[in-house]
C-alpha cells in the first residue's frame, strides 16, 4: 500500500511529462503567448541601467492594452520625470516635459536605446505574439534556474521583424521564458535576456527580475524589476491618445 501511495506523485509527474512531450513547438509558443499577452496590464517597473560608466536607476509606470496600445510614464529620477511614451500599433511618440514637445520616433531613431538602457524603441514595438511572427522548432531540453526548460529555435516568417531569429528557453510547466538570445540575419548575437526570478500574479507567471543586454554595447545590461503588476485593470481609452502625453 505504502509503495502504491509513494508512487502516486511519480505517476502524476510522468503523466505531466508525457503531456509536455506531446506538445509541438507551435503549441508551446501558443502557451507562452497565452501567459504573456493580457487584455489590459498596468505595472510599475524599476529599470537599473548598468552602463560602462555608471549605474542609474529609473522608475516607470506603464499601461498596456493588448498588443497594440501602450503608454509609459517615467516617474524617477527628477531629470526624466514626466517623460512619456505612447505606442499605437507600429507608431511611437515620446513627450518631453522640458521641451513641451511630442516627437514621433521613426526610422533610424527606433534603433536608439530608451533612456540609455539596453532596450531600444524597436524592442518596445516588438510586442507581437511569437506564434504569429516566428516558425519554431524544439532544439532540446535544459535546466535554467533549477527549472526544466525546452529550448526552442525561432526563425522569422517574414522580414518585418527586428530580430531574424531567436533562441528561447521556456519553462516546461509555467510556459514563461527564462532565457533568450536574439540574432541578426547574419547570425550575430544582438540581445540577450536572462530571467533572475519569477512571481505568480493573478494566475499568470510573470518574469519579476530580468536582465536585458545589448550584446553590441559595453556595460552589464539593464535590469528590469517589477514592483507591482495588475492584469485586466480598467484603463481609460483616452489614455492612448497623443493628447494624454501633454497632461
Amino acid at each position: 500500500m505504502k509503495k502504491i501511495l509513494s508512487s502516486v506523485p511519480l505517476i502524476f509527474v510522468l503523466a505531466a511529462s508525457a503531456q509536455a512531450q506531446t506538445l509541438s513547438a507551435d503549441q508551446i509558443l501558443d502557451r507562452i503567448d497565452e501567459n504573456a499577452v493580457a487584455g489590459n496590464r498596468t505595472s510599475v517597473v524599476e529599470m537599473i541601467i548598468h552602463s560602462r560608466r555608471a549605474t542609474r536607476t529609473l522608475k516607470l509606470k506603464s499601461w498596456v492594452q493588448g498588443e497594440d496600445k501602450a503608454f509609459t510614464e517615467f516617474l524617477e529620477p527628477a531629470r526624466e520625470r514626466g517623460t512619456k511614451m505612447l505606442k499605437l500599433g507600429d507608431q511611437l511618440w515620446t513627450y518631453s516635459p522640458d521641451a513641451d514637445r511630442t516627437i514621433s520616433i521613426s526610422g533610424h531613431m527606433l534603433r536608439q536605446s530608451i533612456m540609455g538602457s539596453d532596450l531600444s524603441y524597436e524592442d518596445m514595438l516588438e510586442d507581437r505574439k511569437l506564434r504569429l511572427v516566428y516558425e519554431a522548432t524544439v532544439a532540446g531540453e535544459e535546466t535554467i534556474i533549477d527549472r526544466p526548460c525546452w529550448v526552442l529555435e525561432l526563425k522569422a516568417k517574414a522580414g518585418d521583424v527586428a530580430y531574424y531569429s531567436r533562441k528561447i528557453w521556456v519553462d516546461r510547466e509555467r510556459f514563461v521564458l527564462l532565457r533568450e538570445v536574439r540574432f541578426a540575419k547574419s547570425g550575430r548575437e544582438l540581445k540577450t535576456l536572462e530571467v533572475k526570478s519569477i512571481i505568480r500574479a493573478q494566475n499568470r507567471w510573470v518574469q519579476n527580475d530580468v536582465v536585458f543586454k545589448d550584446a553590441l554595447k559595453a556595460g552589464d545590461g539593464t535590469e528590469f524589476i517589477i514592483q507591482s503588476i495588475e492584469f485586466d485593470a480598467a484603463i481609460p481609452e483616452s489614455l492612448f491618445t497623443k493628447a494624454s502625453l501633454r497632461k
Binding site: R52, R53, T94, S96, A99, R101, I103, M109, M115, G116
Partner: protein
C-alpha cells in the same frame, strides 16, 4: 667677362630671349604653385585645428578610439580640474573645452507638431562665458549671414544652408533631439539667433553651434566635455613641440590604464591628417622636380637651336683660336646669367601673383560639393621666405643642365673643317 656676356645677351636677343622667357615662365609657375600649395596646406591645418582638433586635443582613451562616432557617453569628466592641470603644465597654450554632438533638429509648427526635421552636426563652444576666444577662432562674426551671434542662453547658430532647408529663420524655435551622456533621449528647445556660413562644405550642410553650458545642460554633461582643445598662443602649429607635450602628458597618465583616463593627441593624429600633410609636401616637391625636368629638356632643346643659330659664331670663335673649353665655359656662364635674370623675373611675377592670391584666394567650392574634409572653399596662397629662393633651383639648374648638354656639340667641331664650313 660677365659684363661682356651681359652686353651680348642684351644686344643679341635671338640667343637669350627664348631661354629667358622659358626660365621666367617656369620659375613663375614654380613659385606661384609652391605658394598656393603652402597656402592650401596652411589653410587645411588651420581649419582642422580651429574647427576640429586644436593643435593638441585631450579626450578619454575610449573616446579617442571611437572619435568618429562622437561617443559623449565616454566624455571627459571633472573638467575644471583637468583644465586647471593643463593650464598649469602647459601655460603657452590656450585650453578650451568643446562638445561635439549629433542629433535631429526638429522645427515645430504652430501646434507643436513637426514641420520639418533634419540631422544636425553640432559643436558646443564657449560662446557666452567671458573671456572667450572661440568666436574669433571660429571666425563667427564674419560667418554670420542672417541674424546675430548668440547673446543669451539657449540661443544657437545654424548653417544658412541647413536653415533654408528646414525653412527656419532667425528668432524661430527649434528642438534638438539628441542623446544625453547617459544615453537618454534629450529634447531641448533653442532659439536660432542667426545663420552662418563657414565656407567649408562639410560644415555648411548641417552645422549647429551652441554655447557649451547649454549643451552640457541638455546632454546631462555637468562638468564634462567630449574634448579639450589646446591652441598655441601665437597660433602656430609646431609638430615637435606638440609631440613633446603629448608624450609628457600621456606618460604622466600611464599609471592609469582605465578607458576613461585622458589622453593627448596632436593635430597630426587626426585620421588622414598625417597622410594629407605629407602628401601636400610631396606634391610641392614633385611640382618643383617636374618643372626642373621639363625646363631642362626645353632649354636643352633651346640650347641646340641656339647652337645651330650660332653655328657660325662658334665656328669663328674657334677659328680665331678660342679654346673649346673656354667657349664651353663662356656659354655656361651665359646660360647661368640668363637663368639668373629669368629667375629674378619669374620669381617677381610669381610672388606678385602669390601676394594677390594670398589676399583674394581661389574659390574651389564647385569642386567641394560632396567633400567631407575640413577644406575651406576659398584657398589662399601663402608667401613664405622660402618662396623667394625656391625658383633659383629650377631656374639656374635647368639652364645649366640644358646648356651643358647642348654645349657638348662644341667639342664635336673639327678645327680643320671650320673654314670649309664657314664658306658654305
Amino acid at each position: 667677362m660677365i659684363k661682356f656676356l651681359f652686353k651680348g645677351i642684351l644686344r643679341d636677343r635671338s640667343r637669350s630671349l627664348f631661354p629667358f622667357l622659358i626660365v621666367t615662365a617656369g620659375v613663375f609657375l614654380t613659385v606661384a604653385l609652391y605658394c598656393y600649395i603652402k597656402g592650401a596646406e596652411a589653410s587645411f591645418i588651420q581649419s582642422n585645428a580651429n574647427l576640429l582638433s586644436g593643435h593638441v586635443r585631450v579626450m578619454t582613451r575610449a573616446y579617442a578610439q571611437e572619435v568618429d562616432q562622437i561617443p559623449n557617453d565616454l566624455a571627459l569628466t571633472e573638467l575644471q580640474s583637468l583644465l586647471q592641470d593643463l593650464q598649469a603644465r602647459f601655460p603657452g597654450f590656450i585650453w578650451t573645452p568643446r562638445i561635439r554632438f549629433g542629433g535631429l533638429l526638429d522645427v515645430p509648427d504652430e501646434n507643436g507638431e513637426t514641420r520639418s526635421q533634419g540631422p544636425a552636426a553640432g559643436m558646443a563652444v564657449r560662446l557666452l562665458s567671458s573671456p572667450t576666444s572661440e568666436i574669433e577662432r571660429l571666425d563667427l562674426k564674419k560667418s554670420v549671414v542672417r541674424g546675430r551671434l548668440p547673446e543669451r542662453p539657449k540661443e544657437v547658430l545654424i548653417s544658412d544652408e541647413f536653415a533654408r532647408k528646414l525653412g527656419l529663420n532667425p528668432g524661430e524655435r527649434a528642438t534638438l533631439i539628441s542623446s544625453t551622456m547617459f544615453g537618454s533621449m534629450s529634447l531641448t528647445n533653442f532659439i536660432v539667433a542667426g545663420t552662418i556660413r563657414f565656407g567649408i562644405t562639410a560644415m555648411d550642410k548641417t552645422a549647429m553651434i551652441a554655447d557649451l553650458g547649454d549643451i552640457q545642460e541638455a546632454l546631462d554633461m555637468e562638468d564634462a566635455a567630449g574634448e579639450v582643445l589646446g591652441f598655441s598662443k601665437d597660433s602656430v602649429y609646431r609638430q615637435r613641440q606638440v609631440n613633446e607635450m603629448a608624450v609628457s602628458f600621456n606618460s604622466s597618465q600611464s599609471h592609469s590604464s582605465a578607458d576613461l583616463s585622458p589622453v593627448m593627441m596632436t593635430l597630426r593624429d587626426l585620421p588622414g591628417m598625417a597622410y594629407t600633410i605629407d602628401r601636400l609636401s610631396y606634391v610641392a616637391a614633385v611640382i618643383v622636380g617636374i618643372f626642373l625636368l621639363v625646363m631642362s629638356l626645353v632649354l636643352w632643346n633651346a640650347g641646340l637651336l641656339g647652337s645651330l643659330r650660332r653655328y657660325g659664331e662658334i665656328g669663328v670663335r674657334l677659328a680665331i683660336g678660342e679654346s673649346k673649353g673656354h667657349l664651353y665655359r663662356s656659354m655656361i656662364y651665359e646660360s647661368l646669367l640668363i637663368g639668373f635674370l629669368g629667375t629674378l623675373a619669374g620669381t617677381g611675377l610669381g610672388l606678385t601673383l602669390s601676394y594677390y592670391l594670398q589676399a583674394k584666394g581661389i574659390d574651389i567650392s564647385s569642386m567641394m560639393k560632396n567633400a567631407a574634409m575640413m577644406i575651406p572653399n576659398v584657398l589662399h596662397s601663402q608667401v613664405t621666405p622660402f618662396a623667394y629662393v625656391i625658383g633659383f633651383l629650377p631656374g639656374l639648374l635647368a639652364t645649366l643642365l640644358g646648356t651643358s648638354i647642348a654645349g657638348r656639340g662644341i667639342y664635336k667641331r673639327q678645327t680643320a673643317q671650320l673654314f670649309k664650313e664657314l664658306e658654305t
